[in-house]
Symmetry: C2
Subunit: 269 residues, 2 copies
Amino acid sequence: MNGPASLRHAIGVFDSGVGGLTVLQALRRHMPGRDFLYLGDTARAPYGRKPAEMVWKFSEQIANFLCQSGVGAIVVACNTASAVALPELARRCPLPVWGVIEPGVEAATRATRTGHIGVLGTPATIASGAYQKRLEARGFRVWARACPMLVHTVEEALADSPEADLLVRHYLEGRKEIDTLVLGCTHYPLLRGAIQRAVGGRVTLVDSAEATAQTVSRALGAAARQGGGGRVAHFVTGDATAFAHTARVIGGVEGEIAALDVMELARAA
Amino acid sequence: MNGPASLRHAIGVFDSGVGGLTVLQALRRHMPGRDFLYLGDTARAPYGRKPAEMVWKFSEQIANFLCQSGVGAIVVACNTASAVALPELARRCPLPVWGVIEPGVEAATRATRTGHIGVLGTPATIASGAYQKRLEARGFRVWARACPMLVHTVEEALADSPEADLLVRHYLEGRKEIDTLVLGCTHYPLLRGAIQRAVGGRVTLVDSAEATAQTVSRALGAAARQGGGGRVAHFVTGDATAFAHTARVIGGVEGEIAALDVMELARAA
């Protein structure tokens, strides 16, 4: 493995691309003393329209690679990968593994008063039914909508634009009565303004990045405050310069970025 | 160089990703006997929002790589790269190099009757002024509009969807009176339906993929019919499986796909 020294006992965080950086930021706010190793699978991004088997295979390869890198825990910072690969990944992996869906579900159930919850996500996340099944099993009424264009709206630096308003209104048209809306994709917190305008002030938005950071830091307890010096290293399967450029829409990248051969990753399976 | 045997004297065709496949298809229709080597820089795609210097550097690396691979000519099958890198690339390169902009400009000047021409393209293409300068220098009136979301609309398999209609209408709002509209991005021919609906039947759409294939095949003359057995090989800097999946929206990939290390490409500079 070339690139930044692997941070042993760091928390490994992975996503298809830059979206998971919103989760990384939240994790670092909650656990400033921990080291993090972020992996963005930009050579194969986006995951949101890809078949479930493909997303499963990519997720498994990355989890194996992170295990071999010596991380102490894994956060699947991608709703699509969490929807498709958990809980199976957690069963197969010798380390603690968290996704972003369970924490989002928990936060939504705490936020709702009417019991009517909405979920926005990528086509693969919504098609998996991961949010809907968990919420419905607990007696909540769910309205869910796949929003294929919203990741791109963020990555084109258009979170605050007429395009964002047009598309967000389109995806929220015809929604059922809800009082809580889960932003079921790591990019969507950047569209909070457009989404809140479209649903009105009385609907509570649930940010799964923040919910996940709370869950992980609570689960790690005292360990959350140990494990390094607050360093962060990034691996990307695509080009490092291109990753840094796209990442600016999510506040940029702190720490080193190293290229990781996607074929090396495939061999980790 | 690993992967498919390099096709010596093939025509090298490159794009940031899958969009240039529309140009490859047109080239193969016009020159069915030629071999083609297609390079999709998917590890660094999309180019449309990237700074001109970055797109220039990527284009130069790819052109050098194609020269070293033994191709006999190069087609820059990407409007963004053509806008930024031509004519400089043609000056530096020992082979004939064609872009998609000059042929599109020529086709538009032949199509217009009123002399009022519109151009749609990526932010980088429109910001470069590549179409506008060439058309205005020849006395045409130009209305140009950057359409950052349209590439993604195609790649999400939404060319025929409410999202496509919404976005196309948005980008064409407030346009000047035009009788000809250049589809200044290789993805846009797939949005022909939505675009024609938005502008009405009296506006002629100019497809630069088709115009480029005509230009190249005319320029090569008798040589257009020689140079191989109609084979095609693909190199991609991102993942081959992911490329094949995305390419389905453009009719899929014929021929072998091999992964090319983006760092090897950078060393070709």
